[in-house]
């Protein structure tokens, strides 16, 4: 076998995709050919390195997808044209799933980078901070320079201690980034709780709306509802509450959503409540929904 032919087969050999005879021929060639052995070793080293580039989907994404699919399949199963129109309208309101998770890393990094840069400038208003020693350090390269000295390129991660009031924009930006930190639900709960005091800011409110709809942790979603209470009459809040009522898998969140939606007795929500009566499996949530419909003098069923 010529080296050129053997090399075309190496990848198939590596993956066990050759026939018995084909493998035997490659074995025989490799025993006699050092350059091809080295080529195989190099290819295997490259494929091993590529292994480390594989990423697992973030925790919570599968559960979120399953929850969404469950309801979408149920909607598909229903064929009433009137209901179809209602669901199409609702789907048009609702942002695509995953929109909350996607910016979590990038936006947090960008926001933190931007504000960290601002904060290092002199005269940083009331915000006070202290820089600590690096908590993580890695030497990237070492290079000898003149006179026996060396030049090091070092990557460092530092912690900063920041103090300020929640109504300071810079603090709010950090809290909004922390409210999207996918790794730490406790931090998200605390951030959302603090941000709840500043729901009058449109940026903060959009973080609360996103937390309500997409945060995988029910504690964070419940906190977000608290912060949205003063804005329960606003269309964006009502859409998010309707979405939570129909899609959230936590009965506590769904109950809170009913209460807030029912505060403003508006006909636009009757269809959502009637839909809840059809699909809701939790007796308590059904009773609350039924009560809300009766208070609005609406039928508890559709025909």
């Amino acid at each position: 076998m010529r080296c050129e032919d053997a090399r075309k087969q190496l990848v198939l050999f590596h993956y066990g995709e050759l026939t018995f005879d084909g493998e035997e021929a490659i074995h025989a060639h490799l025993e006699a050919c050092e350059p091809c052995r080295k080529e195989l070793e190099g290819m295997r080293a490259m494929l091993d390195a590529v292994d480390a580039a594989e990423a697992e989907p973030p925790a919570g994404l599968l559960a979120q997808c399953r929850r969404e699919l469950k309801y979408r399949v149920r909607d598909e199963a229903r064929s009433s044209p009137a209901r179809g129109n209602f669901w199409r309208r609702l789907a048009e309101w609702l942002p695509a799933p995953g929109m909350w998770l996607k910016p979590a890393g990038a936006v947090a990094l960008l926001a933190l980078g931007f504000f960290a840069a601002r904060l290092t400038q002199p005269g940083g208003e009331a915000l006070r901070m202290a820089q600590t020693d690096p908590v993580a350090m890695r030497v990237r390269s070492i290079e000898p320079v003149d006179g026996g000295r060396v030049r090091l390129v070092v990557e460092e991660t530092r912690q900063r201690v920041l103090k300020g009031r929640v109504d300071e924009i810079a603090i709010q930006q950090y809290l909004m980034a922390a409210a999207k930190d996918p790794a730490d639900p406790g931090l998200r709960v605390e951030s959302v709780e603090l941000l709840n005091r500043r729901g009058d800011s449109p940026d903060v409110r959009s973080v609360l709306l996103a937390a309500l709809q997409y945060d995988p942790n029910p504690g964070v979603r419940l906190k977000a509802i608290e912060g949205l209470r003063p804005y329960a009459a606003e269309p964006a809040t009502r859409m998010a509450l309707a979405r939570a009522l129909l899609l959230d898998d936590n009965p506590g969140v769904r109950t809170q959503a009913i209460d807030l939606l029912a505060e403003k007795q508006s006909p636009d929500i009757v269809g959502v409540f009637q839909e809840v009566m059809k699909r809701e499996e939790n007796n308590y949530v059904r009773l609350r929904t039924q009560k809300a419909l009766r208070e609005m003098n609406a039928s508890v069923e559709t025909f």
């Binding site: 080293a45 390195a49 590529v50 580039a53 990423a55 599968l62 997808c65 969404e68 799933p97 990038a106």
Partner: protein, 210 residues
């Protein structure tokens, strides 16, 4: 018309509800008759692999979640036409890989149009932002040499959608090339060629790093 005895249906329901491993064909038949629990079990047999495939191919949580929804909704809509003339696994992977290849093609053409967009605050390089987003969150990735990781991600992104998909399915999902060919509606020989080209390109781009 298929006729099932009461006992058969009861046994089926018991198995589905108790979460015992059921024969895949029985699950499919139950789902074809409208059994939502059977469909859910069927989805859960494969959905982690589907999400992992979409996430690794598209490297975007949002796109991976959309492919997940679209793939399983297509399965749901068309399950009644599934006649067992290929394996369910192959049929599902055909749907998922086609969706992913479409996403990759759209993204490639968008990227070729322009990755740098003008904003009020100057120009933004979207590919750089994508890299930043991906670098966050996965501790294993942080351990890799940044340079090597960037090179790997860049070479994977430069493969054609077919090469990328064949490589992903063979290398990370362990599918045989024959099955990959079936999933992509191509011959085994074409899948072999794609895999060969993909590894050649990667070897050429990464040779100095490994």
């Amino acid at each position: 018309m298929e006729v099932h005895t009461v006992q058969e249906d009861a046994a089926l329901a018991t198995n589905v509800q108790s979460g015992l491993t059921m024969d895949e064909a029985a699950l499919i038949r139950a789902a074809q008759k409208g059994d939502e629990l059977a469909f859910e079990r069927l989805v859960q047999m494969y959905d982690h692999a589907v999400l992992r495939l979409a996430y690794n191919l598209l490297r975007s949580q949002e796109d991976a979640a959309e492919v997940y929804q679209e793939a399983f909704l297509r399965v749901y809509r068309n399950l009644s036409h599934f006649r067992f003339d290929c394996s369910f696994h192959t049929w599902l992977y055909r749907i998922v890989t086609n969706l992913c290849v479409d996403y990759l093609r759209k993204r490639k053409s968008r990227r070729e149009e322009s990755a740098v967009v003008a904003t009020e605050n100057g120009e933004r390089d979207l590919t750089q932002e994508w890299k930043e987003e991906r670098a966050d969150g996965d501790p294993q990735r942080k351990l890799m040499s940044r340079e090597l990781r960037e090179r790997i991600e860049s070479v994977l992104a430069e493969l054609t959608p077919r090469e990328r998909t064949v490589f992903e399915l063979r290398h990370f999902h362990g599918l045989r090339l024959r099955a990959i060919g079936e999933a992509l509606g191509a011959s085994e020989e074409a899948a072999k060629n794609c895999l060969f080209r993909a590894t050649q390109k990667m070897r050429a781009a990464l040779g100095d790093f490994v």
